[in-house]
């Protein structure tokens, strides 16, 4: 038994440095998701829950999912945490999708939550970079920005990509974030400002990197046979693709291509029966500026090596040929690790239903989300449409 599946509701907490608990943020995201279901939905209708979370800072590492669902009016529901680093809730969404598609349940929840700013700085830095390869990469002194910085150095070397092109990604995404009331960073920036801020890991300045963010996101999925009970404007899941790769970058054949992205997107396009040319808006995993450049290439929006030019020439702007990260992306909207994947689905849910306000892109019919774990060891790609 295999059925069509739609997203019928989506919500998210504000993203930022919020001074709030995970359960409070998650409860807010779930409430907003419930409210977004046009004809209403009883929390008891949700039969399975998948909660993305990395566990940043320690806190409630074990059994987190039960705590989240308990505080979100879903006591006693079958629930579990899904962990794939920054791709946790992209995979939580895939798991919920497969549960509904398989016929096991009619309605499922995919969410995510991460609180990253409630720990002192001296403790916080020990939690950055824990999703890379610890035995070799980390003991070479590499950090998370460091691994992506090496990809950037290679991309510059192989294709002549410039720091200005990378900065253009940051400028675009901050411009979009300025129009997103839930974004962590809501100020436009300039190329000059991006280039002149402090170097974090050569060639990255502060503005090449996403921040540390608190936030939660929730998405409700329903099977085709029950969809009309809840809404007349469902957003269909047209394709779900996922893939993995070597954990350590030195084991990968190329540092300028994320194989997991290429494979996950190939599977998602095939299932949806579309190509990259048919995608009208994309939320991609821009944890660093180079990550968006790699993503637009590996997803097929640009040929390899041309990703930097795409941003610099405005082709990925809201009114460009292929709008990328109208939410502000991880760069400006924020990147609460475990919440990011479901938050991407939330943005495309709004965009496809023409509900994205000041940042609405013109008349999208197909949307793509791209969620990467760590430096590319895991990836989940989804294609949604109306």
């Amino acid at each position: 038994m295999s059925r069509d599946v739609a997203v019928i509701g989506a919500g998210m907490s504000p993203f930022g440095d919020l001074g709030r608990t995970a359960k409070s943020l998650f409860a807010e995201a779930f409430s907003e998701a419930l409210d977004s279901v046009d004809n209403g939905l009883d929390p008891g209708d949700v039969k399975e829950a998948y909660i993305g979370n990395m566990g940043f800072g320690g806190g409630q590492i074990g059994n987190l999912a039960a705590l989240m669902t308990e505080h979100a009016r879903m006591l006693h529901i079958p629930t579990r945490k899904v962990e794939n680093a920054c791709a946790s809730s992209g995979y939580a969404f895939r798991d919920a999708y497969l549960a509904v598609k398989s016929g096991a349940v009619d309605v499922a929840l995919a969410g995510g939550v991460e609180v990253m700013n409630d720990v002192p700085d001296v403790r916080k830095r020990f939690w950055l970079g824990v999703s890379g390869d610890t035995e070799w990469e980390r003991l070479a002194g590499l950090t998370f920005p460091g691994v992506y910085a090496m990809m950037a150095v290679r991309h510059m070397h192989e294709f002549g990509t410039t720091r200005e092109q990378m900065a253009a990604v940051a400028v675009k995404n901050h411009g979009n974030g300025a129009r997103n009331p839930k974004a962590q960073f809501r100020k436009e920036i300039t190329i000059e400002k991006a280039l002149s801020s402090a170097i974090v890991a050569y060639p990255f300045t502060l503005y090449d990197c996403c921040g540390t963010t608190d936030g939660a996101s929730c998405v409700i999925l329903a099977a085709k046979n029950v969809v009309r009970t809840y809404t007349d404007a469902p957003v269909w899941v047209l394709g779900s693709g996922a893939a993995s790769d070597h954990l350590a970058v030195h084991d990968r054949e190329s540092l300028t291509r994320l194989e997991a992205t290429a494979r996950a997107s190939r599977a998602a396009y095939a299932q949806a029966g579309i190509t990259a040319n048919d995608v009208d808006v994309a939320e991609v995993h821009d944890c660093f500026t180079i990550a968006e450049i790699l993503a637009v290439e590996d997803l097929g929006f640009a040929t390899k090596g041309e990703g930097g030019r795409l941003a610099a020439e405005g082709l990925t702007a809201r009114d460009g040929k292929i709008p990328v990260n109208p939410s502000g992306g991880l760069k400006a909207k924020g990147h609460p690790l475990g919440a990011t994947g479901a938050a991407q689905i939330h943005e495309t849910f709004l965009q496809l239903r023409r509900g994205a306000g000041d940042r609405q892109v013109p008349n999208p019919e197909n949307a793509l989300t791209h969620n990467v774990g760590g430096s590319g060891a895991t990836c989940a790609v989804h294609i949604l449409g109306i």
Partner: protein, 367 residues
């Protein structure tokens, strides 16, 4: 008759002058010392002994010895680690510690053993400043290591008291404890009598001066208050030492079924899925494939101490000349001069200390 057949020595690349030391410390209580050798932040008695030992074994063309004697004036032993880093049997290592004449004692014992038992001995005398930098006892102390291979057909003999104590070594290396006298002895040898590099003068010229602040930083090993290790990522000691061959000696694994070479080691062959391996000692040279520079305050906790002491560092993916790539920190290099394609060579260094245990392994340096 047993005698010295081959030698090797290692001088750290940094040096501090008596004047600079006096300016910084407000005293320099070390007669006859004009400058002294300063081990880098990732060096210590053990890493310097490995460097000297490698040179000596290469000169001698040997891959095994009957006895390895690790001599140092400090109280910490190191012979077993040095043996493993050199590919020698750690069960044949012994430590001779706690005395400045540990090197001479070990050498005399080695010659005696080689003569009576026809055994081959590697004598490693190594020393680094290890006291309290605030104390005047620190002033004279310098770092250096020397290695001597003693074997039955060796030609050169050693007699106690045959080396003047106020040699060029004391003037320019400082008091390198157990290594001092044997290093001085090296300068008296004739190249036709022993194998190995004897050009101490060239090595002395090759060093870079440091300020007293830099000297202190390289001696400093202290985590800032509040630092906690191992919160989100942790490599346990058993996990670390389980890969000792790869970490200490760059030993890769070749699949015995299909022949594919892997480094770092993995559990199953990527090509054929087999799980049977033979060790391959990889060439230690390679090129920088990709790199970055980790800015201040951004290091993983294991390297926070290093970064606070000596600042930003470069780290890279190195493509080995034998093919595999590996992530490795670069050392002995100004980070801003690193480029893709830069030739680098493996060096054995102290990486970090956790739970009171120093962890050693490879880094790469330009050559």
């Amino acid at each position: 008759m047993g005698g010295i057949a081959a030698v090797g020595f290692y001088l750290p690349r940094f040096v501090i002058t008596a004047g600079e030391y006096r300016r910084g410390a407000g005293r320099f209580d070390a007669n006859g010392i004009e400058e002294k050798g300063v081990p880098g932040f990732d060096e210590d008695e053990i890493t310097m002994a490995v460097a000297a030992g490698e040179r000596c074994l290469v000169a001698a063309g040997r891959r095994s010895v009957d006895v390895l004697a690790y001599a140092t004036s400090g109280m910490l032993g190191g012979g077993a680690i040095v043996a493993e880093a050199l590919g020698l049997d750690p069960a044949k290592a012994r430590d001779v510690r706690g005395s400045p004449d540990a090197g001479e004692t070990s050498l005399a014992g080695a010659i005696d053993g080689a003569t009576k038992d026809r055994t081959t001995h590697l004598v490693l005398a190594t020393d680094a400043p290890h006291g309290d930098p605030a104390s005047a006892e620190e002033d004279a102390r310098g770092g250096a290591a020397v290695a001597l291979l003693v074997s039955p057909p060796g030609k050169v003999l050693w007699r106690r008291g045959s080396v003047p104590s106020q040699s060029v070594i004391r003037h320019r290396v400082g008091d390198a404890g157990a290594a001092s006298v044997l290093l001085s002895f090296l300068t008296t040898l004739d190249p036709s009598d022993v194998a190995g590099d004897l050009d101490v003068a060239a090595a002395l010229r090759d060093r870079s001066p440091v300020t007293y602040d830099q000297y202190l930083a390289m001696r400093e090993r202290r985590m800032p208050p509040g630092t906690e290790f191992s919160q989100g990522a942790y490599v346990s000691l058993p996990a670390y030492l389980g890969e000792k061959k790869a970490r200490y000696r760059l030993i890769g694994e070749r699949c015995t079924k299909c022949g594919r070479l892997h480094f770092p080691p993995r559990e199953t062959c990527l090509t054929c899925g087999a799980q049977a391996w033979e060790d391959v000692l990889l060439r230690r040279t390679g090129k920088v494939y990709a790199y970055t520079i980790i800015g201040k305050g951004a290091a993983p906790s294991e390297f926070l101490e290093q970064q606070l002491a000596v600042g930003e560092y470069a780290t890279a993916v190195v493509e080995l000349d034998d093919g595999p790539r590996v992530a490795a920190m670069l050392t002995d290099v100004n980070p801003t001069t690193v480029r893709i394609g830069m030739p680098v060579r493996m060096v054995f260094r102290r990486l970090y200390t956790q739970e009171g245990v120093a962890r050693y392994g490879f880094r790469f340096a330009p050559y």
